[in-house]
Symmetry: D3
């Protein structure tokens, strides 16, 4: 599984067999409807990770004390979503079958659907905790069902009502909000209110955690395809994400929608990389 022609995320040099967590990249963004570039996200996070330390002063932990394997990016065929999702699902399933936690770096948000399929196959009672600016609940987008704008709807096709917990949502069309409110998903607008209660409720249940970086206010992360004003701060996100990782039974997770080409300052990539480090240490 390991082609070694790539830069690994700082401190993630364990062999696959020895690892508890396995990082991999899914550099796909063919359905991005507004501004592409999420394909470059996973590579940028790795390449720029040498600007980070392995130590977290937030958690007083060090990546050097964890067994994490970074097995690089999957080579994906642009413009063929079904094929790309198949390859991603295969990778996630292999990691899960080996008893490890897959940690996927996107790519656009559609890639989550593939990893969720793999996780759901192993954990039929799967819940999803979803941080995002967007509902992602359309049934189709210009006729396409495999679209970043539909990814949570596709996951709902698998998981059914009441298993998807959305936070930070501040954009969508009117029918999407109505559809959620009809009991299909739990949708918290704008912030993380109620997260603690949800984490208690989900105690003991398998959780997939998907973090769309555009939940952040674009002041903190301008490098994303569809920036939405009015988001959370980095500290608010970090606190919420650590709460999820420390309290939920995470079986798989992803961080997606960094488009580093849209932020020439490099700050967005640095923010994403630090979040990845903190998640790796908190699981």
């Amino acid at each position: 599984m390991l082609n070694k022609n790539y830069t690994v995320f700082i401190g993630c040099e364990a062999d696959f067999d020895a690892a508890e967590i396995v990082l991999f990249g899914a550099p796909y963004d063919s359905t991005t409807s507004y501004r592409p570039g999420a394909r470059f996200g996973c590579r940028a996070i790795r390449t720029e990770s040498d600007g980070l330390e392995t130590y977290s002063p937030y958690q007083d932990k060090d990546l050097g004390d964890r067994a994490i394997c970074d097995c690089g990016d999957i080579e994906l065929p642009f413009g063929d979503s079904a094929a790309a999702l198949g390859l991603i699902e295969e990778r996630a399933a292999a990691i899960l079958q080996a008893g490890k936690i897959p940690f996927m770096l996107g790519g656009e948000h559609l890639v989550t659907y593939a990893a969720v399929r793999a996780a759901f196959a192993k954990y039929p009672g799967l819940n999803i905790i979803h941080f995002d600016a967007h509902t992602d609940l359309r049934n189709d987008y210009l006729g396409v069902q495999l679209s970043h704008a539909c990814v949570m709807r596709r996951c709902w096709d698998l998981l059914g009502d009441g298993k998807i917990w959305q936070f930070g949502i501040r954009s969508g069309d009117k029918p999407e909000f109505a559809w959620a409110a009809a009991g299909h998903t739990h949708l918290q607008k704008f912030d993380f209110s109620g997260l603690d209660g949800v984490l208690q409720k989900l105690s003991g249940q398998p959780v997939y955690f998907t973090l769309d970086l555009d939940v952040l206010d674009p002041a903190y992360l301008p490098g994303t395809g569809t920036p939405e004003a009015g988001g959370v701060t980095f500290r608010e996100l970090l606190d919420a994400a650590l709460a999820v990782c420390q309290n939920a039974d995470i079986v798989a997770l992803d961080v997606n929608e960094l488009a580093p080409n849209l932020d020439a300052s490099g700050v967005s990539t640095a923010v994403a990389g630090k979040l990845v480090r903190e998640l790796l240490l908190a699981i």
Copy 2:
């Protein structure tokens, strides 16, 4: 009045006659003294508005339920401020005479003076609510009286003492602050303190609302000609702007000083567009 060779703001496709609100652009920035580019603001807000939704989860309203006409940009002669202001005033006056609310997209802040002239001609008791980082109260700038740095002073020439209510101000020279404090304008430094009281006081009076986007901290809106550290957050601005639109008797308004060329990430344009949507829905 309508030349149809342009992209309209999302959801603003009403005919002029059917519209309650009429959007138009005033792409002028010839007096900008520091970094030009506000001329590109109005077109960028429209062109990029397809990255927005028509629905607001803040207000639970949709642009599809409003009758708004976007009649495009006025063609303005660069370098001749008197002529440009004349053309803008003409457009605003025509909209007002038709019993509609003109909503102008700048351009630099000087363009406000033209729309205020039109509004003042119809509403002699006009007040101005002014959100800005800058006082804009100089009598002249390098000898020029028709300058973005003098726009509130020019409005005062028309309206007189006590009719201009300034919020968020954090930059100006010493005499400008002193001049304001002498009773010519109401000037609230740094934030929106006291806004609620002002809105009560102005109840029933005609109000022109002018929103210079640089009232935002440049973390939230880097794309503006003269960024000033220490501004308000997006959420603070949104709350204050909604309060104005929902409680004041707005007869005309504008949003100005977006310079999209200064923010390659596109975030500033996205922020401005969302504010325009919220204002359109709140009036």
Copy 3:
């Protein structure tokens, strides 16, 4: 067919019925494998065309004297190439059926395949003159046959041996060059040598002209997905393209692969726009 919510290319304001040539945009780039952004090409060419004059001092002709309709961009579903190509073919076919010349603005080069299908349906003896840095002759790319890297191969599937005339080619894999040399296409490496002879040979035959802007050296056009050093100059390209338009029996044409997001100076868009003007005047 005409949605009027867009900016038209300068001087192209004829009604569809009155037009000899019909411009339209195909903003698709989902199969771009290296750096996306060609989706923004057609809109940028139009929007920035007000920086051009309608008059050409090269040809002493003016767009004001031609009847050209710009019918805007097709709305295309990202990530579903078959569906997107279907919509493009439909548009091109409608223009051809009306007895007009379709002039498509890409988008990535894959979109050419759709317009060629429409042209081939009407003109079974169709030839293609192809200016490009790349062979585009792969049978598939990572298993995908509908890919920008395969577009000339897909056209060959329709037209057969000896009907595709390639110029300026300077990149491809070894098998692609060998495949061309085996008699499938006429391939001129690096420049336009032999073009005059080809134009004589094709006299009286229907020709589709496809111009991939990356045939230019990236010094002249940095804003493209896969820049290839060693290309032709603007003057060399202009001379060759005018020769094609003035001497061949063009039945349809396209200009593609401008990625304006990759050239912040705006020069690439200005270059593309001028080429479009010259082609419109030369046909």
Copy 4:
């Protein structure tokens, strides 16, 4: 006249009284109709001149052997062209009266009109050698006569027929080319053909040399407000400009239309600076 709060062009540290040539900047661009930024040109040329050497291997001369004074930028009122031109004319006249050669760094091309007025007042038989991509011969632009698009027409108002020699021209509207061809100016399209003959003809006559940097192909100088494909190379321009400076009786000159904000690579500024050095050494 000398305010010393600025960086001088490399090697131009002579006192005003001792100088043969006097550099000054005219940072005005209020009439720029397409993309502003020429206001930043003169300061960038100076500030970045420390990336140059004082020695020219082309001419085997060194700025250290010349007496050149750089007296900085004039402070100009944006948005008031008449006032700005008055201040520029005053500066140029003062330099001419002191028996020195004024070398103006723009700013937009309109500033040339002010310096030409000063030169014409001293030299009634003045000729202009004009390198440019654009005719600049409109009588007015959107009703404004003091516009960068009209600057050569304004100069013709002073000098009359047959005194303006234009080279490299490749853009304008049809009436402009016709007006030139009617005998008002000598207009050489695209290149410098015929320059040697012109220089012989002008021998002994006073010449103002105005160099609009957009005569260069935008491959060589992307940082300009209205880039025009199809221009000359740096070496062609350097040869032609040296021919002018070495053979004509230059009484005043300028270099204009660098917009450094439009070229983040800094190359355009480096190109402009090297041209300024070569002109300073060649006069």
Copy 5:
């Protein structure tokens, strides 16, 4: 000491002899390990200071009422840290010997070591108040002891235990935090908690204040070499920095690590310039 070929910071035009505070620049960044550009910081702060006012509405003070000399940048040899530090120390010592306060603009943080040497020579009981995202406490970095990553350790070599007060720290390796915690420095993670108590404790003692701009969250200052998510806001920093300047006995200070090339919007430079103005007024 004064070379007058540079632009001074707005309102800082006093002669050296008359000045209380003396600004100077130390444009060095040769040891920057991640992204260089701090060398451009001091010049950018000065050059762009004309976008600021001399008046502070925060403090109701004006630079026009202070006697401040800006003596420009030192010319430093890149790649030779020992030599560069020697030149900086010399400059700082000369200012201190003249009874004035040196205010240094970096450059990378290593330059602080030179100014601290000069201050320590005059004030043996020197304390350092240090605002930063990074500990800067490594003993060496890849074997180099004169490195930006070691600057506080080098200062500790001089001052000894308990004299360095660090605030806002959120990045470092594990041994650095442990070393600080062992009593070598006072280290406050993440924010300015406890600053007031420290200022009381230091009353009457000489203080060097070093402000690494990356203590700000990168949303507020993206233009820095090693951006660290999770920092303080501009208002938090301004309040803390004013508290230091108004309550401590500042004998020398610096602001460092602005890399303006990394923030094309110019906002980072505007933020830094405003902080410099506020510090100048508050001392």
Copy 6:
């Protein structure tokens, strides 16, 4: 010697022992005096090499048919030139001792001195063929002898008179040109005239080939620290470089001074990568 945590140049995956040519990177730019960023050159060339093909239509050769090892970047201490050069020399010497050709990717030009030391130790009769815009013949730069501006002078210290053959030179100070002309080096200004004769003359002698990418006109390669107008075209450089590699007895070589951060379009990196491919195939 091989740490495998990096992306290798396309097609260069041979083991060290099997390789004829060994690529390595020297990411150092601490002495760059104008605009840093060459440190990022070697990594960018590798990372972006997947935008290239392994096949060259210029030479009809393929990297797949060569045995080339890419052993990654050396970790170098910024700010300590002597130490960095020591590490580079060690790497180059190890490759030479193994009977292979070291191909170094800079980094700034100073790194050449280290590789030349290693080559000279093995080949005392070493000649250098040097393509560059700059003489690089200063004895010191602001007192520093280990500077990019002195690198050919340092090499001359080793090799002595008449062994360095410089082409394309168009910038330097007057004494440098005079020093060369005094017989110390062979210096061809502006272009490659005389290269064929030199190659004949050097037949059978060991040659180090150093290619400073700024020999290209900045139209072709804007991404370099000190761009110099008036350079050669890509095709001129390619022809000359192939002539060197095909006719000279190359014992070691390098390509340096790409600063990818200065060219956001990515074109400069693409140009550099293609040159590296061509050199690898031509040796």
